[in-house]
């Protein structure tokens, strides 16, 4: 219960941050990705602000085995750079550039009642299901 409540709080604050920053507005995101047009550098400040806080939080988190609520730390163990990581990220960036939505802003805009965001989220979930299907059939054949 405590775990889920704290997750809800993090999601809520994350969503508010996306709204205030302009990240939830695809027009703004595409303005940032459009270097050859009239460039809007605002979103660099979103990343900068987030990493500024995140850097200190993860520096503290790295030294701990239990979280401040007493749960096990689940930080990624892998530091391996492989083709899956790169190909997947390249695909994600192409999708991001087409619509101006990444996963978080898509969910926030869905909550704001945008029909196109709902279609985006449904397609994104379909993409994730396709990934699960490919992965499970790959595991079966191995």
């Amino acid at each position: 219960m405590k775990y889920s409540l704290s997750a809800f709080g993090a999601g809520l604050v994350f969503g508010l941050g996306l709204l205030i920053s302009g990240m939830a507005n695809p027009e703004k995101v595409l303005g940032f990705l459009d270097i050859a047009g009239l460039w809007d550098p605002s979103l660099a400040f979103v990343m900068g602000g987030a990493i500024l806080v995140g850097f200190f939080a993860f520096a503290i988190a790295r030294k701990r085995t239990l979280s401040f609520l007493g749960f096990h730390m689940k930080l990624p163990a892998s530091d391996r750079v492989d083709t899956r990581l790169v190909i997947g990220s390249l695909m994600f960036g192409a999708g991001w550039g087409i619509a101006g939505f990444c996963p978080g802003p898509g969910l926030v805009a869905l909550g704001a009642g945008e029909i196109k965001a709902a279609v985006f989220v449904a397609s994104m979930i379909a993409g994730m299901v396709i990934f699960e299907m490919i992965e499970s059939s790959r595991r079966r054949t191995q």
Binding site: A7, F8, G9, G11, F14, L16, L19, I20, S21, G22, M23, A24, N25, E27, L33, W39, D40, S42, A44, F45, V46, M47, G49, A50, L52, G54, F56, A61, R62, R64, F71, M73, L75, D79, R84, L85, I87, G88, S89, L90, F92, G93, G95, W96, G97, I98, F101, P103, V108, A109, A112, A117, V121, S123, M124, G127, M128, V129, F131, E132
Partner: protein
Amino acid sequence: MIDISWNSFTPWSALTGGLLIGLAAASFVLLNGRIAGISGVLGGLLAPRSGDIGWRIAFILGLVGAPVAWLMMTELPAIRIEADYPAIIAAGLLVGVGTRYGSGCTSGHGVCGLSRLSPRSLVATLSFMGTGFVTVYLIRHAFGG
């Protein structure tokens, strides 16, 4: 030469929002011990394991509920979506498959991963930013415009 769109440049709201996003990621790792990676949180619901579902739904509900909470205080900021439906669907599929193969998106790699100074996340972030810039260039300047 890069032309800056000073009219749409909003450094203060961007920075404020960024600090809030950082705060959310900080509280999630310090209280829950996890990376606030939205594609991972959502993707984990599609191959569910028992005891690993509730907090994911709670996190997503927080995200989706943010505009609702905002509306209780004031009017929502503009959300303008230019892409047409076929483009939205293609974008969604690419983002869905891509973030799962790449093990993360803007939040998990871009915010949390770079904060952790993870080389893996740096490569991922450079990759998706790269195709993001190229895709917008192709759509707006090479083919469209």
